[in-house]
Amino acid sequence: MTLSDHLGYAFTALRGARLRSGLMLLAMAIGVAAVVVLSALGEGARRYVVGEFASLGTHLLIVLPGRNETTGGAPPLVSETPRDLTLDDAEALKRSRHVRLVAPINVGAATVSWGGREREAVVMGATHEIYEVRHFTMAQGSFLPHGDVRHPQPVAVLGARVKRELFGAAPALGERIRIGERRFRVIGVLQEQGQSLGMNTDDLAIIPVMAAQSLFNVNTLFRILVEAPSREAIEPAQRHVIATLKARHDGEEDVTVITQESVLATFDRILGALTMTVSGIAAISLVVAGVLIMNVMLVAVAQRTAEIGLLKALGAPARAIQYLFLAEAALLSLLGAAIGLAIGQASTALLRHLYPALPFGAPLWAIIAAILVALGTGLAFGVLPARRAARLDPVQALARR
């Protein structure tokens, strides 16, 4: 018997018991659809988070003061006060081919006012480099100019909401505003960007980093953002940053360098594992469907005993009969999987339509795994009934009508 003969015969058998086959298909379809939808949800969350990180800048390293490490053990006898990061540190980092941009930043809160209105805003001290590192876009005017970092002009760039709330519809460019006790001239307004990793750029007021230092009366930096020229350069850049700062801080390694890659990889891993877990739970329903298939096949063997006896009388070897029933189980699982896939993809499309912000989509591995698990359980649970059919005694089987 050829494979197509087996499948053709199995198909007539399934068609012969429509209700039973239909219910089976439904069970299998629900299982596969559950895997597809749940993995699509997980994958959507993962892609969303990864996308958010990517918007932070592509080959980014974040340098923060202090050694952020838990080593355990006794506290050191000589206290190691971490040195703060300074503008000089930032300057020093620029001298490497593994570093493309260095953006020192300072952050604080201050009152921003214009005319009679005032508002609390997050004030970020920065240099021109931050524009590229954070992928800002301008709605109006220009960003902080290049130029002497040490002797900056008193200029400010406003986030979209800060501008709106202070100026309303009135033009802001060229206007003088007050931030804390100092005056700044507005030279640009940022494009509305919304939330990006917990920091809303719409609520920012950006001023030159030196101006921020004197505004907040500090001579230190909050962070230094370093961008490597390529993905491959991230590691050398990280080594360069640590080595340079260690040398500048009397041989003490008192800074922490977080690469965006490592943060991203961590999130990727966590959310990937979550997706796998959820899909795995959904896959349990596939196994349940497999048990149902076994049940149905056992009933089919019992109902078709006379038919099996006849096949034996016609000279079908035990193997052929086993394959016939396995083909039935395989057909049931594959058809069920196909229907489930269609339902799953349709539901995913509906979800995408309802929540356009989240990139739902079942990953290919989940789809392939769902189909394989469906087929695998179908066949695995089909073996027992198929064996039972193949082992029937032809004389007794024929006696049953």
């Binding site: 007539t12 096949l311 016609l314 000279g315 004389v395």
Partner: protein
């Protein structure tokens, strides 16, 4: 064609041994027309099952075309059935969800005959048994006589040397029963060895050689060598 020597068949019924066949010795020549008669439980169906390789003897030797097949494996016996033996049953044993044509085609499917060849042979067989117009009817849409003709078509499409019929008319009215017997006898006239098990003395008397069985033994063998 067939030589049975000292065939015994013992069933184990609730711990008690029951002799269904006792020391059966039988030679069947190619082209023979044999009927096996006897009361219920005389072992005639058991004998037919053993000749048809559906059952194995407990003791004795079975030669089919000069070949000892007692010791063949299940798969080898299945192959002998597939190629040389056709069965006709009292209750037809057609597969209800398949059409007449598909039922007749089944042995060819099991033998792996290519589809195109299958079609032609099925069409030919349908025509030979006057079923051409019923080709796409399912068994439930056929009369008893038509069903048994489909079953005979299925049994003969592989052109077997041996045709075994177990009460072939037992479930038919007189007219269709007569029709079926004539078909079987025509097949025998063309060289097929025919063995019929029956209760019906009228049918049994038609055979050239008539065996009578009682309690698992052949007590009468008439017409042999005539």
């Amino acid at each position: 064609m067939i030589r049975l020597q000292g065939i015994e068949r013992i069933f184990d019924v609730g711990g008690q041994q029951e002799h269904a066949l006792r020391d059966i010795n039988l030679c069947v020549e190619r082209g023979d027309y044999i009927s096996i008669m006897g009361p219920s439980g005389s072992g005639k169906s058991t004998l037919l099952n053993i000749i048809g390789l559906l059952d194995r003897p407990s003791a004795g030797r079975y030669e089919f075309e000069q070949r000892d097949i007692t010791a063949l494996s299940d798969n080898e016996q299945a192959q002998v059935r597939r190629e040389h033996i056709g069965f006709v049953f009292q209750f037809f044993h057609l597969i209800p969800r398949l059409t007449a044509a598909e039922n007749i085609e089944l042995p060819l499917v099991l033998s792996g005959v290519p589809t195109a060849q299958r079609r032609a042979r099925v069409a030919q067989t349908l025509k030979a048994y006057g079923l051409a117009e019923r080709a796409h009817h399912r068994p439930e849409q056929l009369s008893g006589g038509q069903r048994q003709r489909v079953a005979i078509g299925r049994a003969t499409i592989i052109e077997p040397g041996l045709l075994l019929a177990d009460e072939p008319t037992g479930n038919l009215d007189r007219t269709s029963g007569h029709e079926v017997v004539e078909i079987l006898e025509q097949l025998n006239a063309r060289g097929i060895t025919l063995v019929v098990v029956t209760h019906d003395p009228e049918l049994g008397q038609r055979a050239r050689r008539r065996l009578h069985m009682v309690d698992g033994a052949i007590v009468e063998d008439m017409g042999h060598g005539a």
